[in-house]
Symmetry: C2
Subunit: 386 residues, 2 copies
């Protein structure tokens, strides 16, 4: 494995009833901004639980963060934070609300220029400070509750970009699996696929002799395959909900990929599908991944074969046949949990493929674990999904 | 799984050459005490690397921490810390040096009474503050580099006891697998077994529906079984050394056992063998574990069967036969990496069994994952190893 540095100081409070511990985790005598989405937290009772647990705290609210949080929206929150002299941000929602809150936390303390630069000039403009964040997670999927990453969308330019910083790790995240009981099926489906592909992005690259990290990545995949369908069959199955929720967190808190190369190409291509067509994030990566595996089967051969064997028990046959079967199994799994995997399933045609290819061409930045995947290959990957 | 809270803020710097990063991690303008053992760090060059990396820091040294760190020794260091107004402790050594340093860190700021109470009255006298600690690990085994636990021995009363606190987690730990190149074979053997049994103590209890934690525990066991022998065959095999070292850390940083019951009975009995006979820690638990599995096969049945299947591929046959085979495989593995597993191998006879049984009788505290294992069962466990 490669040399690495790892530090993840997020405090996790996991289990039923944990939202009631909120008051112990929040800073006293500070001004808090509660951030949330469209209001589902009113229907499922989480808003009430949060209000009950935060009685006596000086808290104002910012409502209306979208499923793909928009720059235009979060900048409004930044204004409020500055005007109201907010000290602490409490995110109550899924990955989108939390990602938005991370951007707000960094932008509120950034005076130099437009904070969009954190994303547009990701490796030049670095987050050097941020307001502290706490999170109540209402939807397992993105892993944002135990990392410093964030993805923000800019509507005017149809861009969806990522940034990250250790300063954006929540101080605490409360994970109560009971939040799953009231989720729409589509969000559960998306969450399972999202967590699964987070692992794949860190796992399906090239071998660097890392058996422990590989076994741990497979552990998350196997658990999602086992527990995901149980949650879909009965979302009030607490054990299954808990196992799914913890899998989604472990998928992207960094521990399974220390010292490893990572890909994230599937995400980068998927983001474009959301930017152009508003397709759910998990759906976009479920579309792209099988194409990525198919077109890049040579570069990823050793790891795909390991994945085939250890996750799907595919041990015999010629190499290409095993890879085909692994792709097939992956597609079957996504479809079985209710996520379609072809572009036409979402009404997307060849025109979008061309637009996305052009966009990568213009950016001039290659993707993939070796940063050698250019527009030609991206085109093939997308065409594979038509 | 059960509800849990988890926070592990230790920063890990992993890989060859990482000791040179020490100066970036140490606090500036503070007085540092460098703690170490008998002087092996002079022979293997680690002392020189540390001195080179800490040029310009205000640092004094405390040498002579034993393999089972003694209360009498660490109290001398506590005096030095107080007299010299030390601000930061830098442990350079294996688990023993680090455990000693943790005790020093807590005891130096404890004015109420004898700090031995942290161990003797573990759940009444709690660590509420401690000096900050950093670590350069010279021996993979105990996992102490990424947790807040410590074990100290008191010679006059022949006691070896554990304590722990989040305040005792190192701020950083540097893990350079190259330290393994110069280790005596016995320490490598012990380290493999120690890490293995750390996992077992968190894994072989009773089922609470925790597939992810179980798969992760098995990941560490499988990696130790695969990589341990490679390190013993060639300790300059960097990849194997790195995989072994990271496995030992992951075995006891808490992540594999969130929300699970834990046992630690094998350790508690093993500590008595060290206290009475000075047997190496890993050797003591290699002796006790097979007896623990054999005598408590009913209580641990479901988890032993899972272990048999997932770690040793033992899938068929009557329950007791599968359990027997799993114990056999475990013993074979320990012996194959050079750690004997019977009391007579270490010259221990029935008299010691009686003394240890009496001691647990006197303490009146039962052990095991359900705290229901009393002196009678402890006697049977030890007799099983005669």
């Amino acid at each position: 494995m490669y040399n690495f540095e790892f530090k993840n100081p997020v405090k996790i409070l996991f289990g039923k009833g944990k939202i009631s511990k909120l008051s112990k985790e929040l800073p006293k005598h500070k001004k808090i901004l509660l951030t949330y989405g469209g209001g589902s937290i009113f229907k499922n009772g989480i808003y009430d639980q949060v209000k009950e647990a935060t009685k006596g705290f000086d808290m104002i609210e910012f409502r209306g963060i979208e499923a793909n949080p928009e720059y235009e929206t979060v900048m409004k929150a930044v204004e409020i934070v500055k005007n109201e002299k907010i000290d602490f941000l409490l995110s109550v929602g899924g990955g989108s609300v939390l990602d938005a809150t991370k951007f707000i936390a960094a932008a509120a303390l950034y005076e130099d220029d437009d904070p969009w630069d954190f994303l547009a000039k990701r490796y030049e403009v670095i987050v050097e400070k941020a307001l502290p964040i706490g999170a109540v997670l209402t939807l397992p999927a993105t892993g944002s509750e135990m990392n410093g990453n964030s993805v923000i969308t800019r509507v005017e330019t149809q861009e969806k970009l990522a940034f990250g910083s250790p300063y954006l790790m929540p101080q605490f995240s409360i994970l109560d699996p009971e939040v799953i009981y009231s989720l729409p099926e589509r969000q559960i489906s998306n969450g399972i696929v999202d967590a699964f592909i987070h692992v794949i992005e860190q796992y399906l690259t090239y071998p660097v002799n890392s058996p422990l990290q590989d076994r741990m990545a497979e552990s998350v995949l196997l658990t999602l395959i086992e527990e995901g369908p149980k949650v879909l069959a009965d979302k009030t199955n607490y054990d299954a909900a808990a196992n799914f929720m913890w899998s989604a967190t472990m998928a992207l808190n960094g521990i399974i990929s220390v010292g490893l190369p990572q890909d994230w190409g599937t995400h980068q291509i998927g983001h474009e599908l959301t930017a152009y067509h508003g397709i759910d994030h998990a759906q976009t990566i479920a579309i792209v991944l099988p194409g990525m595996m198919n077109i890049r089967r040579k570069e990823k051969e050793a790891k795909i074969l390991q994945y085939a064997e250890r996750v799907w028990n595919i041990k015999e046959g010629p190499v290409d046949e095993r890879i085909d079967k692994a792709i097939e199994k992956t597609v079957e799994f996504f479809e079985s949990v209710g996520v379609k995997t072809k572009l036409p399933d979402y009404g997307v045609s060849i025109e979008t493929v061309d637009k996305i290819t052009e966009r990568f061409e213009k950016r001039g930045k290659k993707i993939g674990e070796k940063a050698d995947v250019g527009p030609d290959q991206i085109k093939l990957i997308l065409e594979d999904r038509l």
